[in-house]
């Protein structure tokens, strides 16, 4: 088990390094002048001397390979560099933005899991075939609806129509509800879609017939037997969905004017704040890697066939027939 976690952590470091390398190549090494980017699009009258000064300030005058390792060493020390427009450390900016984002992301994930699972179960459980089909038509719709439009509808209905939740800001729990719903829609729809397919397939498995043949009722068949088996593929996707959730915060925080990681990202890109963009990319990669590690650790709890730490042992032929 420990060995497995060490191996997985080593893999995680590999992924982060790859994320660093790719973002470095895109932001610094590709044709184009980072110094000019730093100076901004409006700096048309900038002199070559000023550009050189900028390059020296941000270490851009050094050979690329040196820059690559300089930044890598800094990264290992936990230093993501400084934001260009503000001059503040990138880690500090991310740290400030994080709590408000975690608030809506966690609530969003919770809503997505609860409503996604609920919808899937309701759709397969319902004896009414037409109702089941109607419910199953909802998830594709949820994935297809553009996030910003849905967010505006929510504001229209629940802030202006029935004033339940505030339309903007990040004060208190109420302010987190609408952004969280915006985040939960595509995520929950994906979970619902996957789980309902998986449930339908599981209910066709021969071992479910065995349970019916025992005289079990539909509730026992669905909840005690089918759900746990059907949840396995959905769990894998939940790991991937966290990435979707992070990118969703960009839209949600912008529409609801909440400070947070999404807003910071949007601003950093707009201002061409290269160190901040790279810092956010690395942070997102770290979150992603950790969530998936967590999912892999939960797996063996749900499925006894999966054994962590050693390879699955092929059933050894004992020579004793049953």
């Amino acid at each position: 088990m420990t060995r497995y976690i060490i191996r997985r952590l080593a893999q995680a470091i590999g992924v982060l390094w790859a994320a660093y390398t790719v973002s470095f190549l895109v932001l610094y090494a590709l044709p184009g002048d980072p110094a000019r980017l730093i100076a901004g699009p409006d700096a048309t009258d900038i002199t070559p001397a000023q550009l050189d000064a900028l390059r020296a300030e941000f270490g851009l005058d050094k050979p690329l390979i040196v820059q690559y390792f300089d930044r890598l060493v800094a990264l290992v020390r936990g230093d993501l560099g400084q934001s260009i427009p503000t001059g503040r450390p990138v880690t500090e900016l991310i740290g400030e933005a994080l709590p408000s984002t975690i608030q809506i992301a966690a609530l969003g994930l919770l809503l997505a899991i609860v409503f996604g699972t609920g919808l899937a179960i309701l759709a397969t459980f319902s004896r009414n075939a037409a109702l089941g089909r109607l419910l199953l038509a909802l998830p594709p719709l949820g994935v297809a609806v553009p996030g910003f439009w849905f967010a505006l509808l929510l504001i229209q209905w629940f802030s202006f129509g029935i004033p339940l939740f505030p339309a903007v800001g990040n004060v208190g729990f109420a302010a987190a509800v609408l952004p969280a719903i915006t985040l939960a829609l595509p995520t929950g729809a994906t979970i619902a879609q996957l789980l309902s397919k998986s449930l339908a397939n599981t209910l066709r498995e021969p071992y479910i017939d065995t349970v019916w043949a025992k005289g079990a009722g539909p509730a026992r068949v669905h909840f005690r037997h089918a759900l746990r088996n059907a949840a396995l593929p959905a769990l894998t996707v939940t790991g991937l969905i966290v990435g979707q959730l992070l990118s969703g915060t960009v839209v949600a925080e912008t529409v609801f004017s909440r400070p947070g990681l999404g807003r910071v990202t949007a601003t950093a890109v707009a201002q061409q704040d290269i160190p901040l963009v790279q810092g956010i990319v690395l942070f997102a990669a770290a979150v992603f890697v950790l969530t998936n590690l967590l999912v892999d650790l939960i797996y063996p709890i749900l499925d006894p066939r999966i054994v962590i730490g050693r390879r699955r042992v092929a059933r050894v032929q004992t020579g004793v027939p049953a």
């Binding site: 017939d209 005289g215 006894p304 066939r305 092929a314 059933r315 004793v320």
Partner: protein, 593 residues
Amino acid sequence: MSDVTAPAPGTPVLDIDGLAVQYRTAAGTIDAVRDVSLTIGRGERVAIVGESGSGKSTTAHAIVQLLAKQAGIVRGSIRFNGTDLVGAGRKDLRAVRGRRIGLVPQDPTVSLNPVKRIGTQVAEVLVIHGLADRKNAEIAAIEALRRAGLPEPELRAAQYPHELSGGMRQRVLIAIAIIGGPDLIIADEPTSALDVTVQRQILDHIDELAAETGMSVLLITHDLGIAADRADRIVVMSEGTVVEQGTPAEVLGAPTHPYTRALIAAAPSLNAAGDVDRALEPLADEIRARVFGGAPGDPFSVLDRPVAATGFDKHAADVLVLRNLVKDFPGPRGAGTGVNRAVADVSFSVPRGQTFALVGESGSGKTTTARLALRLDDTTSGQVLFDGRDITAARGRELRELRRRIQLVHQNPYASLNPRLTIAQIITDPLTAHGLGSGADRKGRAAELVDVVALPATVLGRRPAELSGGQRQRVAIARALAVNPELLVLDEPVSALDVSIQAQILGLLASLQRSLGLSYLFISHDLAVVRQIAHRVGVMRLGELVEVGAVTDVFRSPRHVYTRALLDAIPGRGSRVSPSVSHSHHTRSGVQP
């Protein structure tokens, strides 16, 4: 439904009258069961025999009303202990299922919930019916597992299904079926997914339990041999109707319906050697020259086959020789240097133009041996010689050349054909892969090959889903023949097919061998089939070849205990069939799929 528990004395346990079951599909309705009437007395064992599509399984599932969603009972009654189950309420049905009627399903490997412990799954029956609380149910479950003949029931109860062998899992399912103390057990092909020796133990055990508790048994099987051994009465079904019923002696001794006669003729377990459909004409010389005139592995070359490679030369060297073959798989990590020896020092040779059969139960290493011979896996040690050449370490181009001379036919024709390709594309695939011939050449060859395996030319444009199992296996054979191979490795080529189809495919293989001088390495767990097709046989057990010899010798006087055990386990050996019936080949044409 409370009266179910106290039936009037003399009432049969089950009385089915005029049952009809329909499936609704997009294309219309299909009558799976048209008219079935049968009764099962108290303590009686009744077997329903029929091929796939005969409606036997649908009948079994209709009794407990566990039919597919699109199926429904349209007519008839199913009286269980005097009460009609057709039209009974959901609650009443649930009270009968598991408690009064136990069901033993077909494939134990997929019939247990993989994420729940064995003990819990057995105990669940008692919990559902309120017969015991959870704790007492778990204790009762261990007792039920013991009664089902599972060794170390306390240990097994704490394990998960994947930790048990197929035979053990079937015993768990038997425990689930009997724990409620049912009046009737329905066993739906309970052993068709198991090895013969295990099959026999399981069926023996069901018999013992039935005798002990006085419960009735309804056995569903495609194997007339098993039915003859196990049942007090046999019900033969075909196309949804009962065509014949009676005691085994009546049904086997004096079958009145042509379908029964055909079924008897086709059942390999009931027949002596030589019952393969040998009536098939060998290929005409003209076809042989045109379709298989090219060089081995290169069908479009105009060269005649060298005499040595035809398989008709009595003095030709053996086509495949395996010497002291060993294959180790790495053992579980943490088990030190331990390895899992799948094949241990196996030596045999496949004579040209003949069939060598490799027999063994699952896990015996027969398929691994075949994979080594095909060079799909690397050997740990030992030698593989093909046509006198050492190919143990062949790779790259040499291996590709080799692949044109050895071809493989898989066990399951439902899985081995790409569902998205047309039959013509499937058959020409090996030619395309090796870059042989032009597109038109390949197309022409596909048409010729389809004709050789006796399929209509119209299948060429169809896809596998539109074909029956037997037709698909013919396609797989045509594909294997496309490159003019010298050796075919046939991995259980008929075990997924109905008996009458089995006889047809075996007949085709025998005819092709006689016409083309092909050599076969035939992998099978079914000794009855081997007896019909093979010239030589090797028996494998736990990776070792325990006995090799001519088929007649091995079957007449087996030297190894294990071979004897295998031979004894063949069902239907106790039932003598009059020779006139078993040799009536002309009737077989009446049971086309």
